[in-house]
Every structure is written in structure tokens, then in C-alpha cells.
């Protein structure tokens, strides 16, 4: 369980995180979504006690991170793939971390096996590909067999197979009753991995909802219509109160009147139609619009200054 209450972080006069409040319960994968610069990484650093909040609190398993007696046994985290010295081997990196929290050394072998790094355990990390570094980061996060996992952009740099691997892994960890919290700026990835979403923009919570609800609430339906008599059709639809926009692929994108009503209307007026298809705007589009609004707002504010 991660609990964030009124968390605020200011750097000079820039507010990176603004009175953020949310909780991440165990047993499901919670996605932390927001465009680059929305405050995701700052929030995670505050939760992990790396940065000190300007005000508010963040607790993991009921305690501030710094108060956990052996933090790696409670929380596993992945901040970025660069948290390893290039001259060290994967084995040395993990052995050091294990020693720091009094974890048995067999855990090192366990997580190396789990992440498929056993064969390269003795190699220096600087020769690792981005995907291998990412796997090593995951291995370090799992070292203490923690009840809470906090992962910042874990799919970065992974290939398709790696992404599928991590998706399955995270879901199975959540199914074991662990708290899994991962950030991403990629909506598509979240749609496939997460059960629940916390969306932030410019340091504030924009949505805290299940993925399904997020899709249903925010995804708008429209109808794509293509006709050889576009002007007549347009006038007709607008007379019915529909909003008609040109679609990039040709034809019209119609909001406000559903596909069956359009069909009736067209046949009633003896017009020809070549295509009539109902469509959902994808979550990707919704999210992009949301992120865009947040960015717009920020730009406007900066211009005003």
C-alpha cells in the first residue's frame, strides 16, 4: 500500500508536484500515467525518500520510506537503468545490495534466474544492452521479495518480447497480493498492463479510476460517413443538430447523431452513402488530448509570466 497525501514539491518557483493525493492498494497493477514533465518521476523520488517534499506526506506500508528498518525487504524500486556502475558485474551489484539489507546471498541467484541474467552475471554492466540493464534493474527491485514494487518507466528500452515478459511478470506479482505501481508516458502500454490508472498532468491528479472506466468516460463515439454528395449530406446532418468535421481519411466525422439515425436520414432523402461506420476515439487519442491540454495550460501560464 502506498499512500500519498497533499504531496507538494517546489523547485524555486516551479511547482513540480502540486498537492497530490492518491493511494495505491495491493493486489492490482496501478499505472501512473502522465506526459513527460508531468511530475511522475518527482513523485516517485519523493515516495522513495530521495527528495524531501515541500509539504505533505508519502508513506509505504504505513511508514515514511526512510523509517523502514530494511527498506529493500518492503519496497522494490526501479528508477532508471543507470543506477549501476558500469565497471561492476551484475553479480557484484546485486550482492552489494543484498548485503546492505541483510538479504541471504541466494536471493542474488534467484533474481538473476528470474530475470534471465544468469549467463551474463559475471559480465561488466557497461557492456549490457538497454534491455539487459532494465532486466538488471528489475532483478534489483525483486531482490528483497518486497510487498510493494515501484517502477519508473520499466518498459523503456525493452523489445517486444521483453515488454511481454514484464507485463506478465507484473500481473503475476499483483495476483500474489503485492502492490505494483508503475509509471509510463505510453497510454497503449498502460491499457494492456494496468488495472487501475492514476493520471497526472502539471503535477496534479487528473483522473484516478479503473482503466475500463477511464476508457468509457473519456472515449467519445463518432461516426465516419463517406458520400459522393458531401455538401447535401453535410447540410442535412447539420440541420439535425450534428457536428460535422472533415476526417483526415476523407469523408466526415459526425458527432451528436448516431450511425443508425444517419442511416435512416440518408435513405429518407435518397442520398448515396459509400461508408457509414461507428467509431470510438482510442484511449491514446483521449490521453493525448488530455496531455495536450495540460501542456497548453502550462505554456499559457509561462507566457503570462
Amino acid at each position: 500500500m502506498i499512500e500519498v497525501r497533499e504531496l507538494t514539491k517546489r523547485y524555486g518557483d516551479r511547482t513540480a508536484v502540486d498537492r497530490l493525493t492518491f493511494s495505491v492498494p495491493p493486489g492490482r497493477v496501478t499505472g501512473f500515467l502522465g506526459p513527460n514533465g508531468a511530475g511522475k518521476s518527482t513523485t516517485l523520488r519523493l515516495v522513495l525518500g530521495l527528495d524531501t517534499p515541500t509539504s505533505g506526506t508519502a508513506t509505504v506500508a504505513g511508514r515514511r520510506y526512510a523509517e523502514l528498518p530494511a527498506p529493500l525487504r518492503t519496497v522494490g524500486s526501479l528508477l532508471d537503468a543507470k543506477g549501476v556502475h558500469g565497471g561492476r558485474t551484475a553479480q557484484q551489484h546485486l550482492a552489494g545490495l543484498a548485503a546492505s539489507n541483510r538479504l541471504p546471498q541466494h536471493r542474488v541467484e534467484d533474481v538473476l534466474g528470474l530475470t534471465g541474467l544468469t549467463d551474463v552475471a559475471g559480465r561488466r554492466v557497461k557492456g549490457f544492452s538497454l534491455g539487459m540493464s532494465q532486466r538488471l534493474g528489475i532483478a534489483a527491485a525483486l531482490l528483497g521479495d518486497p510487498a510493494v514494487l515501484i517502477l519508473d518507466e520499466p518498459v523503456n528500452g525493452l523489445d517486444t518480447e521483453g515488454i511481454r515478459w514484464i507485463r506478465t511478470l507484473l500481473k503475476s506479482l499483483a495476483a500474489q497480493g503485492r502492490t505494483v505501481f508503475l509509471s509510463s508516458h505510453l497510454m497503449g502500454e498502460m491499457e494492456l498492463t494496468a488495472d487501475h490508472l492514476i493520471v497526472i498532468g502539471r503535477g496534479r491528479v487528473l483522473a484516478d479510476t479503473s482503466v475500463r472506466d477511464f476508457v468509457e468516460t473519456n472515449s467519445h463515439t463518432h461516426t465516419l460517413v463517406r458520400s459522393p454528395e458531401p455538401e447535401k449530406l453535410r447540410a442535412l446532418l447539420e440541420a439535425e443538430g450534428a457536428t460535422v468535421r472533415l476526417d483526415a481519411r476523407g469523408g466526415f466525422r459526425v458527432h451528436g447523431v448516431d450511425a443508425s439515425s444517419i442511416g435512416d436520414l440518408v435513405s429518407h432523402h435518397h442520398l448515396t452513402v459509400h461508408e457509414l461506420s461507428p467509431a470510438h476515439s482510442s484511449l491514446e487519442e483521449v490521453y493525448t488530448a488530455l496531455a495536450h491540454e495540460a501542456a497548453e495550460y502550462r505554456t499559457r501560464r509561462e507566457v503570462r509570466r
Binding site: 525518500g49 530521495l50 524531501t52 549501476v84 556502475h85 552489494g96 541483510r102 500474489q176
Partner: protein, 255 residues
Amino acid sequence: MTGPTDARAGLRQALIHEWIKFRSVRSLVRPTLATAVVPVLGAVFVARTGSLRPDDTVLGAALTLSVTAQMLAAVVGALVITGEYGSGTIRTTFVATPRRGTVLAAKAVLLAGLTCTVALISCTLAYLVEDMMLDDDTYAQGDPFPALLGVALSFAVAALLGLAVGTLVRHSAGAVTAVVGVLLLPSLLGPLFGDAQRWVAGLSPTAALQKLTQTSDATAETVGSLGPWPSLLLVGAYTTALLLLAALKLRKRDA
């Protein structure tokens, strides 16, 4: 999932972590080995070339290059923490051991123990080699005991000074420049201060070291008029103060 345990990540655990990190990074191991080798090489060189002044002691001659070795120890001290900032591993370290005072204490204990041991062995060896190679009666012997212990301690103080400066500065190049400056500048700038020269010059850990080695170079003008042990105490005291300041900063700062 492991259930709640009473296992605590304390100083002992942090110390083992620091030791594993230290020995797995070449840029720390190599200068430490150099610290060990340089005094002995210096002793051999001085004995072979006979480049001693008549008033030199065997001990002083043996430890001619100990000043350089001490500087290497100080650089290692700085790199132990700036290397972590440079590679980003400092965050990994703080996530594993969030009590930052414990992290700094572990680094300090490791550095002090390591440099002290390395210096004691290497400087004693240098003295024995010098003693063997030089003719017996030409030069005064010097008092190796307890001076050699002091010499070893001065290495530890230099490494800790490096650690404190490194913690405050955070960048390798800046920290190395700063710490070498602290070691060298007092004797270089001393003459500019007129009558205060002996005070200024005596501030460097190098000054304490030179007095302990009983070399003829250690005149009151160049290294201050304090005795060797009070001099070591003075350097140790301000290093401790600087380390405490560094610990304070480390706890407050965002990593």
C-alpha cells in the same frame, strides 16, 4: 513475500555494501594500490641515488614520496562519493540505505580503516627497505615508533578530508581539485602571509605528515611550528568538523 522481520539495515550492513562497491570499481582500487606502492618506490629511489642531505634521517628519506601517496589517498576519499554521484549509483545506495548519515559513516569507516592499514604496511616497508639499503652510520636513524602510526593516521585523515570535500562538492573533477588544493596550497601560499606563514603552512595534512616523517624538509617555516602530534590533531579536528557539515548537507539535500 517475506513477512515482517526485525532485520535492520544498519552500519554493519552499509559497511559490507561499501566494501563490495569499493573493490568492484577499478578507479578506486588502482589509486589505492598506487598509494601502497609509491612510498616503497620512493624509498628505493632515494637510497639508490643517495639523494639525501647530511642532516636527513633514514625514516625521513624512506618516506620522501609519502606526501604523494597521501595525496592519492585523499583523491580516493573524494572519489568514493563523487563517483557515486557521477554514475547515478548514489540513488541506488540511498534507496538501499535511506539513513544517509549511516551511508557516510560507512564510507568513512571503510576509508579510514583501509588507508590506515595500507599506509602503515607500505610506510613501514619503505622504512625497512631504506634502512637495509643505506650504510648504517652515515645518517641518523630517526624514531620510527610511534611516528609510523601517526603517518598511517595522517593518511586516514587525508582520505576523510577527501570524503568530506567530495560530499560537499559532488563532482569528481571539482572535488579532486579542491582536495589537492587543501593539501598543497597552505605551503604554496604560506610565504605570502609574512609572519603568519608558519600558521598557514601548518594547516595542511601534508604538514602533519612531513613533521611525523622527521624529514629535513620539515622546517618550522614551511610546515608550521606546532609539534607533529598536535599538528595531526589539528588537521584531524577540522576534518571531523568538515565531515559533520557534509553529513548535515547530505541529509538535507535532494539526491
